[in-house]
């Protein structure tokens, strides 16, 4: 077992990627994720075959990722909200061409240039509307630096296993916060062989990395194939945490930093006699709809808390499917909900 080290979230994610044998990183500066590429710039050139390259734009960076992933490398890029919007087109191509790649979004407030403070307002973008076409990203949402490390390492395995881009989504707090972390050896040893890469067609038929299917019959077949893959991911990769749900009458649904704040709020609320528990989605896609739907048979109501004007709450409502009321509390634009605010909301929900 390796020892614990104190690290900032952004740097810990970078180190986790390197430990997962990611040797290629392409990025473009944007706050609040700059420590991540800076760490890669220091470390990767010292590793045999390691490449850090600062691209001329986010658009170029994601297309370098597309090239490197097609060429067979474990590859990562990181950015923050406006930069992810610029990468969206390339992410669609990566998903269409079924390439493994890991994209980190350290989310800041939007829309437009927005601000540079923590937010969760890219939930829709990450889970539904990233870019054109029928595709999905696997979206992993850590709520601590340790979890950011573990999920980043796992992200590369998931990407390779399903040949699909994976997003690690954190907010500015996850990126900037320092916590003790441990790098565990959690790599999978049953990943499929990459026999589709472009490394020169020596003694084999040529390989083509492509997302163009001009015949609608072909494209339809391709899209259903992708859909079957997403269904497989839904079956295998759902992750969530529950806390204090045994006797809960209210369930808070929150992810990332907000879930940690909710945990403090739950302690305070329970001290005041409110029976409340937490369901924390760790995978935003696939969304843990089953556990939420089952909880709807137990609790009286749900409170979704987000650092947005209400995005994940739509998925919570779909999962609850009308069984119980789903309330929402959000702060946005870089404002962070306090435990006291959440307790107030719980009192209102309880009535």
């Amino acid at each position: 077992m390796s020892e614990k080290v104190l690290m900032k979230g952004n740097e810990a994610i970078a180190e986790a990627a390197i430990r997962a044998n990611c040797k290629h990183f392409f990025g473009y500066p944007i706050t609040p994720q700059n420590e991540l590429p800076a760490y890669m710039a220091r470390k990767l050139p010292k590793i045999d075959g390691g490449v850090f390259l600062q691209a001329e734009s986010e658009v170029a960076a994601i297309n370098m990722v597309y090239g490197a992933a097609g060429a067979g490398a474990r590859v990562m890029t990181s950015s923050s909200s406006p930069g992810i919007s610029l990468k969206a087109e390339g992410i669609s191509y990566i998903a269409g061409a079924e390439l493994p790649a890991v994209i980190v979004n350290i989310v800041r407030g939007g829309p437009g240039l927005g601000g540079i403070q923590p937010a969760q307002s890219d939930y829709f973008q990450a889970t539904k509307g990233m870019a054109h076409g029928d595709f999905k990203l696997v979206v992993l949402a850590p709520s601590s630096v340790q979890e950011a490390v573990d999920l980043t390492m796992e992200a590369f395995d998931i990407a390779d296993r399903y040949r699909n881009p994976v997003m690690v989504i954190g907010d500015g707090i996850i990126g900037q916060m320092m916590e003790p972390v441990e790098f565990k050896d959690i790599g999978a040893d049953d990943l499929p062989e990459k026999d589709w890469i472009t490394d020169g067609a020596k003694g084999r038929e040529k390989n083509v990395i492509n997302s163009l299917h001009l015949q609608p019959e072909d494209l339809e077949e391709h899209n259903w194939k992708l859909d079957r893959k997403y269904k497989e991911i839904k079956k295998n990769e759902v992750k969530y945490e529950t806390e204090n749900m045994e006797d809960a009458e209210i369930a808070i649904v929150a992810y990332g930093t907000t879930a940690r704040i909710a945990k403090t709020a739950i302690k305070e609320a329970r001290a005041e006699g409110i029976k409340v528990g937490l369901i924390r989605p760790i995978t935003l896609f696939p969304f843990p709809e089953e556990v939420i739907n089952q909880a709807a048979d137990q609790v009286d109501s749900f409170l979704t808390v987000e650092m947005s004007t209400g995005q994940m709450v739509e998925d919570v409502r779909l999962a609850v499917n009308g069984k119980k009321p789903v309330e929402f509390y959000g702060r946005t634009g870089g404002m962070i909900p306090s435990p006291a605010e959440i307790v107030e909301q719980l009192k209102e929900v309880r009535g």
Partner: protein
């Protein structure tokens, strides 16, 4: 009987989809012949553009990537940085290389990215049906410059080769044309050099190829050749714009 002419190994048997009189086919063949002659078919990785040559990945018998519009130099950068010992090339049109992908073209050249870019300049957007390109000449009529390109309104046609030649990382820059057998021979020589420059690890290599688009120019194939010679050659002078002294 001895075969004295044939299809290059680096081309598949797939029939080109190009219009009659279009010169893409000639340039495809030249690139494939060079790949054959340098013996790098098993080392080559190509990147196809968005534009008329979007299906180039079906024609070149080497590993290929299809890139988003304009992004081929970035995609090629990703490939080359993973496989620095392989031969990586892009094949792009003027909309791709000189308009939507200008930043990628400039910065790949500026970094001295060891890739070879084949840049087809036919002064028009072909695949989308004849719109104004960044390389459309002054006064040239297209569907989006129906009264002729007005430089006061739409700016001047861009000379990518001259511009990129100013960059330190660009090791080899040449403009050629495929309007005559003589010029086709010269074009092949330049394309070969552009691959050799990459093999020697000297930096970014670019060959701009003046080409015809009879369909969207509204001319017969022969008239299109005349139009290229009369209108494009004076504005886009041929020759090696940048080359190491000893190679000249």
């Amino acid at each position: 009987m001895e075969q004295i002419a044939g299809r290059p190994n680096a081309l598949t048997d797939k029939e080109f989809h190009y219009c009659p009189g279009c010169t893409h086919g000639i340039v495809h063949r030249l690139v494939a012949e060079v790949i054959d002659e340098l013996g790098v078919q098993e080392e080559a990785i190509g990147v196809a553009p968005v534009g008329c040559a979007v299906l180039a990945y079906e024609y070149f018998d080497v590993d290929m990537h299809e890139a988003a519009h304009g992004r081929a130099p970035a995609v090629a950068t990703g490939v080359k940085r993973v496989h620095p010992d392989k031969v990586v090339f892009t094949y792009q049109g003027d909309g791709d290389f000189a308009s939507i992908g200008t930043a990628e073209s400039v910065h790949a050249a500026s970094r001295g990215e060891e890739i070879t870019a084949i840049f087809i300049n036919n002064a028009i957007y072909g695949m989308t049906g004849g719109q104004m390109a960044p390389t459309t000449l002054e006064g040239q009529k297209t569907t989006t410059s129906p009264y002729g390109r007005d430089v006061d309104h739409a700016g001047h046609p861009i000379k990518m080769s001259e511009m990129l030649a100013t960059l330190e990382g660009a090791a080899y820059v040449a403009r050629v044309s495929v309007d005559s057998p003589k010029n086709i021979k010269k074009a092949k020589k330049a394309i070969k050099k552009a691959f050799e420059v990459q093999l020697a690890g000297e930096g970014f290599a670019l060959v701009e190829v003046l080409s015809t688009c009879p369909t969207n120019w509204g001319l017969s194939p022969l008239e299109a050749i005349d139009w290229l010679q009369e209108n494009m050659l004076p504005y886009y002078p041929l020759g090696e714009i940048k080359s190491k002294e000893e190679d000249k």
